[in-house]
């Protein structure tokens, strides 16, 4: 149902210029465009196209909630059904952003309730969402269908109860990786008896029991359910009961995978898994050991994404499982599998495109276990299609990285975290400059890079010179002087997000990007050598940037954290006292 709109803004269709495309046709064509980048380009062609585009846009993606205001959004796009919003800077995931910083969804919802009564979808990342907001959402939008919260905070299971109670047409409830307070699992019982539309249900990050009875009944009556991710309190035998009611699942997150089962129960579970003919994604598997892996084997052949990052598996466990999973494209594991486990990956998963190796004990400083450079090399040999890697390790060498990118030149995302800050190549004692040099020289498609280890300005020279497709760069404990950051700002034409911590970049570096920041989404610098004067200068010279400073110490001119982002909404009105907008 199209909202009413006036045609005053359009030029007359009856104009004598017969070469003009009728608006209806243009809008019809443009309504087929889904990519927001394409739509952005379209809107820049001419005024007619700008208007046609804005009337036909149904989904809006806002990468930084403060780059624009809700009023501006509703003013430009009258027909939105789906909104994606991202809030806090990424380093907030690692406690670098104090609480109550902002990115609260509520004001957005208030404006949307008035202008988008037909809103169906809301996807939020790193936003603050309160229970009141969730209740408001649930009661304000009668056609609401899908909510996805990733890395958000401020809400509890009470908010979920509100959603379950009021959203009669809900198809998606996706709660991922959030700081969610647990007030009990009763919210599942809030779905009405006649509610059957659910397709996606993810409550894997819940920290407590849910009412299993309610869950079972819900799964039973929602025949279109294709994604089900339960939390770790759901036991194996309960999982069985869910699976027999939902063999159509494509995406399953199990609960706890360690429970004493009788042989008969094992057989039943195995049978349930083999009946899931459409299952391509498997996660959860808390506390899994190889003991019950055989129940999965029949389903493993179809898996394309396996998330084992909650199961502290040893290399032998992985070596037993992976030969059954030859079609894996994406694999996430813990570093408990060690290099031997990674060798198993190299030999069993030739189609692998993405690998993430998380540290099981990242804050245990005395440990020397985990994965090393040889595991990474083994994977690169066996998986030539690898293009996305996230790798936490305690030692690395320049030579190893050079070998790895030679084996896998198609990296688009290369995120290497050597966990001891400023650590050298452990064989040669040199900095890790040549490693990242090899990455940017060889991987011409590189879009995202995270660097670590002892790094001098040379790394940044390499990045600036070779990483021509780089969009996101993450820097920590690296560099020698302003020159490094300047190289990157001058050399990377597609840079959009730059986040830097604990590096010796100062005012000259900050100011060298004066001309560039408006073409970027944001810049974050913390624990660097930037002072108030430079930040003030930047703010003065570039009024379309918000320069936000967070200081520990009132009197010091040194800046602890500065967050710079482009905006058309002006300085934000909800800044807490510890944030100074210059």
């Amino acid at each position: 149902m199209d909202p009413k709109r006036s045609r005053n803004s359009h030029e007359s269709v009856n104009s004598s210029e017969s070469t003009r495309f009728p608006d209806e046709v243009l809008e019809r064509v443009l309504s087929l465009l889904t990519s927001h980048k394409d739509r952005s380009s379209v809107s820049l062609v001419c005024k007619d196209w700008y208007n046609a585009e804005r009337w036909t846009r149904t989904h809006v993606f806002i990468g930084n909630c403060y780059s624009v205001s809700p009023e501006i959004v509703v003013g430009r796009f009258p027909a939105i059904r789906s909104v994606t919003l991202k809030g806090k800077p990424r380093f907030s995931d690692f406690n670098l952003v104090p609480e109550n910083w902002g990115a609260d969804i509520h004001q957005w919802l208030v404006v949307f309730a008035e202008k988008y009564p037909f809103l169906e979808e809301l996807r939020l990342k790193r936003m603050t969402v309160t229970d009141e907001s969730l209740e408001f959402l649930a009661t304000s939008f009668s056609y609401f269908k899908a909510i996805s919260l990733m890395s958000c905070d401020g809400f509890s299971t009470d908010g979920l109860a509100a959603i379950a109670t009021h959203c009669k047409n809900l198809t998606e409830l996706d709660i991922q990786e959030n700081d969610m307070e647990d007030n009990g699992g009763g919210w599942l019982s809030c779905f009405p008896e006649n509610f059957t539309s659910l397709e996606v249900l993810n409550f894997a990050s819940q920290q407590g029991d849910v009412s299993f009875d309610a869950l079972e009944k819900l799964v039973d009556r929602c025949k279109s359910l294709r994604v089900l991710k339960v939390d770790k309190y759901v036991k194996l035998e309960q999982l069985h009961r869910l699976l027999v009611r939902a063999p159509q699942l494509t995406d399953l997150g199990t609960g706890n995978f360690q429970q004493e089962l009788t042989p008969r129960q094992c057989a039943e579970l195995e049978s349930a898994f083999s009946n899931c003919k459409n299952l391509h994604t498997l996660s959860g598997l808390w506390d899994a050991t190889s003991l019950y892996f055989p129940v999965l084997y029949s389903a493993c052949g179809r898996l394309t994404f396996l998330n084992l990052s909650y199961a502290a598996l040893q290399s032998g466990d992985l070596a037993k499982l992976l030969p059954h999973c030859p079609n894996l494209r994406r694999l996430w594991v813990l570093d408990t599998v060690e290099d031997e486990g990674l060798e198993a990956i190299g030999s069993s998963c030739p189609l692998l495109e993405e690998l993430r190796v998380f540290p099981a004990a990242p804050f245990d400083l005395d440990i020397n276990r985990g994965v090393t450079e040889s595991g990474f090399i083994a994977v690169s040999r066996g998986c030539p299609r690898l293009h996305y890697v996230l790798y936490f390790c305690r030692q690395m060498t320049n030579a190893a990285v050079a070998t790895i990118v030679q084996n896998c030149p198609d990296f688009t995302h290369f995120r290497l975290c050597i966990m001891n800050p400023g650590q050298r190549d452990y064989l040669t004692g040199e900095p890790m400059d040549e490693a990242f040099g090899a990455v940017v020289k060889t991987c011409t498609k590189l879009q995202r890079l995270a660097i670590s280890g002892l790094l001098t300005d040379l790394t940044f020279e390499y990045i600036g010179k070779y990483a021509k497709n780089l969009e996101t760069l993450s820097v920590a404990f690296a560099g020698s002087s302003d020159w490094g950051m300047q190289c990157v700002l001058r050399g990377c034409p597609k840079l959009r997000k730059l986040e830097i911590r604990d590096s010796p970049f100062g005012n000259a570096a900050l100011l060298s990007g004066l001309a560039k920041y408006e073409s970027m989404r944001s810049l974050w610098m913390s624990a660097c050598n930037v002072t108030m004067n430079a930040c003030k200068l930047l703010a003065r010279e570039k009024p379309r940037l918000n320069v936000e400073v967070m200081k520990d110490d009132e009197t010091d001119s040194q800046v602890d954290k500065v967050y710079v982002y482009r905006t058309i909404a002006g300085p934000r009105r909800d800044a807490p006292p510890f944030v100074l907008t210059l």
Partner: protein
């Protein structure tokens, strides 16, 4: 190698003067300059060497006076944690609670060692009970609970000892359980006669077979 930026002069601020470098006494000038207060205080100054093997560090024993503004900071004995590092999300931190604390257990006279996960137990009693089950031929003297179970066949008692973080061998049972779990590196069940040095001054009970 570090180029001087033209902007520094243009803005009229001389950054080189205020640039701090950190160096341990005797270390050559490291191109990595000290960054921020706070960071330098919280991280172990291992920055000049690799985390593991220090052997290949290219220290050429440069003149300390080469450093611009040398801040000789005494490295803390234990590595301190840095805020938000490594970059692991907090939900993932909370999820991985159990990695297990496995320590080796050697018993005098036993042909092979065993391993126990100290996190599986909540008290000394539980641990010693488990050890007794593992090494069924032996009896273990439990000073804490004044238990002495005599094995009728063997008739010998074992004293449980552990090696702590400092490398010292200690009698099991003196410190609170949690502290023990944290500091214990390995366990050893010592034969009664060899454990004379570890026996308490006033043993609760002196059995006839040991001490």
């Amino acid at each position: 190698m570090a180029k001087k930026s033209p902007e520094s002069n243009a803005v009229g601020l001389n950054f080189e003067e205020t640039e701090l470098t950190l160096g341990l006494p005797g270390e050559s000038r490291d191109p990595k300059s000290g960054t921020k207060r706070g960071f330098s205080e919280t991280v172990d100054l291992n920055l000049g060497g690799s985390g593991g093997g220090e052997a290949k560090d290219g220290n050429c024993n440069g003149d300390p006076s080469e450093n611009e503004v040398s801040v000789a900071v005494k490295p803390p004995t234990a590595k301190a944690q840095v805020v938000g590092w490594p970059p692991v999300r907090s939900y993932r931190k909370n999820v991985m609670t159990k990695t297990g604390k496995y320590v080796k257990v050697a018993a005098d006279g036993a042909p092979y060692l065993r391993k126990v996960d100290l996190e599986m137990y909540n008290s000394y009693q539980q641990l010693l009970g488990a050890l007794e089950e593992m090494f069924t031929c032996f009896t273990i003297r439990d000073y804490l609970n004044e238990r002495t179970i005599n094995d009728p066949v063997n008739g010998s008692e074992y004293v449980p000892a552990y090696e702590d973080k400092d490398g010292d061998w200690m009698l099991v049972g003196d410190v609170p359980w949690k502290m023990f779990v944290e500091s214990c590196k390995r366990l050893r069940l010592m034969k009664g006669s060899k454990a004379i040095g570890l026996a308490p001054r006033t043993p609760p009970q002196c059995s006839s077979t040991s001490c």
